[in-house]
């Protein structure tokens, strides 16, 4: 070994050590995220567990913490999500398919594209202000399930559009050409090929969007949702014709995150236990939805081979 090599070897050793240190740092940083999540989940489970029983789901909120439940909150959340999905899915899918399959390359398309990207960065509370000005006062929908559903639909529209576009773009050109070669019109190609093949991808986007919407608090507070609701919206099914009623759309409501916000901001420990329990349910709901979406995507990736 020549003498010149010794300092060189030391230098290499030193650099390798730094590299190992950095890898360890990376792992620690990652674990920090994991641990925070574990702490969050454990804390809520620990504090809320005593309150989590059947009656928690079947009781209205109450001034006495021990009797309070989340009946009106989860019913409200479900109904709002229903409106959101009914509005956002057709609009988002149509917009996504239009942008990918029909729109020409011109400045208008560019403008719309930049716009959608920008919309994804707008804070959710600004959507709440839009809804307050537009749906609540301009259109006169009031502080109703309809207003809230429309607000959240606008909020998740970019998510649905982007997911649709990605799913449609992943379909190879040869499928479209095959369809045209058999004499199909563009609409027939979209209806019988593009939509069915992209539907799992679209579904993933819709679920992620809805999972985001169900946890959104700020825009719904902004439109002025009440926090103490001890009644259910009128039932959509009626005994006498025409059997369906849309009164519930205009009913005041509360949703899970608002109920939790209300309980969290009270000083009494008993209410904070309720908040923990409600938070636990809420996190489980969003985790389940996100989990389904991720699972769908992985399944999709492994199954489809063009």
């Amino acid at each position: 070994m020549k003498p010149i090599e010794a300092p060189l070897r030391r230098e290499i050793q030193r650099r390798k050590r730094t590299q190992t240190l950095f890898a360890a740092l990376g792992l620690v940083a990652l674990m920090l995220g994991v641990l925070t999540f574990a702490a969050l989940f454990a804390e809520m489970a620990w504090n809320g567990f005593a309150r989590l029983d059947w009656s928690f789901f079947t009781h209205f909120p109450s001034r006495r913490a021990a009797q309070a439940g989340i009946l009106s909150a989860w019913v409200g959340s479900t109904l709002v999500m229903l409106v959101t999905a009914i509005v956002a899915v057709p609009l988002g899918v149509a917009a996504g398919v239009y942008l990918e399959e029909y729109a020409g390359k011109n400045w208008l398309t560019d403008l719309i594209e930049i716009n959608i990207t920008n919309l994804a960065g707008v804070p959710s509370i600004v959507y709440g202000l839009l809804a307050l000005g537009l749906f609540v006062y301009q259109f006169g929908f009031g502080q109703s399930i309809l207003s809230a559903g429309l607000t959240l639909a606008l909020l998740i529209l970019p998510v649905v559009i982007v997911a649709t576009r990605e799913a449609v773009r992943a379909i190879p050109q040869s499928i479209r050409e095959g369809s045209y070669a058999l004499g199909a019109t563009q609409w027939q190609t979209v209806r019988y090929h593009i939509l069915p093949y992209s539907s799992p991808g679209i579904l993933t986007g819709v679920i992620i969007g809805l999972a985001r919407a169900i946890g959104e608090t700020a825009p719904i507070i902004t439109i002025g949702a009440l926090t103490f609701i001890a009644f259910l919206p009128p039932s959509p099914l009626k005994a006498e014709p025409p059997y369906l009623s849309f009164e519930w759309l205009f009913s005041p409501f509360t949703v899970m995150p608002i109920q939790m916000f209300n309980w969290t901001s009270r000083p009494e420990a008993a209410f904070q236990a309720n908040a923990a329990a409600a938070g636990f349910v809420l996190v489980l709901m969003t985790l389940a939805m996100n989990g389904v979406a991720i699972w769908l995507r992985y399944r999709l990736r492994s199954r489809i081979k063009w």
């Binding site: 590299q19 969050l40 804070p123 000005g133 608090t217 809420l282 969003t286």
Partner: protein, 271 residues
Amino acid sequence: MFTTVGIVYILVKESVVFFQHVPLALFLGDRQWTPLFDDAHFGIVVLLSGTLTSSAVALAIAIPLGTIIAIYLSEFAPFRLRESAKPFLELLGGVPTIVYGYFALLFVTPLLQKIYPGLPGFNLLSAGIVMGIMIIPYVSSISEDAMRAVPMALREGSYAMGATKLQTALRVVVPAAFSGLASAYILGISRAVGETMIVAVAAGMQPNLTFNPLEPAATITTYIVQVALGDLPHGSVGYQTIFAAGLTLMLFTLACNIAGHLLRKRFREAY
């Protein structure tokens, strides 16, 4: 498309009415924010200070940690770990913000109070820390995608010159992916500025002109929540302030987006 037009229309319309009552100079220059008192002051600086302080704390956590996680996942982590960590980080980003707010108020604040006993129950520090943790997944996932898009040939060239993995990561991959990293940071900033529920729950609702993260203070978003929780008559000056505040917020995030766009253009590397 309609949404943007709608947002701008509503915000500008209500804000114009507001600025007819309150001159712009007072809105920008006044150092007090008491729009609901008889002696009304409308100094947006007060709310901006809270917003900037909490965002600064959040970014001081999210940007370093998010970048390190991204570099680690993209350059160092074994395949199995990366494939299981990505969905997990996505889940972390999917937790509702109100849950993070609860966590900040009832877990992080008591923890910080043990280290620093004089800390008030509402403070910008714990809100900022939790906000930072919330933003980490956004920053790391976009940064990681950007780094993975760097062609393998660049890394191989670097290895062939005798560089270690770390040297390659820091001096070749990070500069090559810089435009992607910049957009990840910008997204993080606009998330932090627009974040509502964490600060509303954990930082208190007192308007307070301070840049000290240990104090309670209201942010722009908190103020909107506070007004919305009360009963303000439609059309009053107080009602219009939230639109002026919202417009400020919107302009701020828009500026961020434009800055991000320019940065991306400026530093885009073509392969």
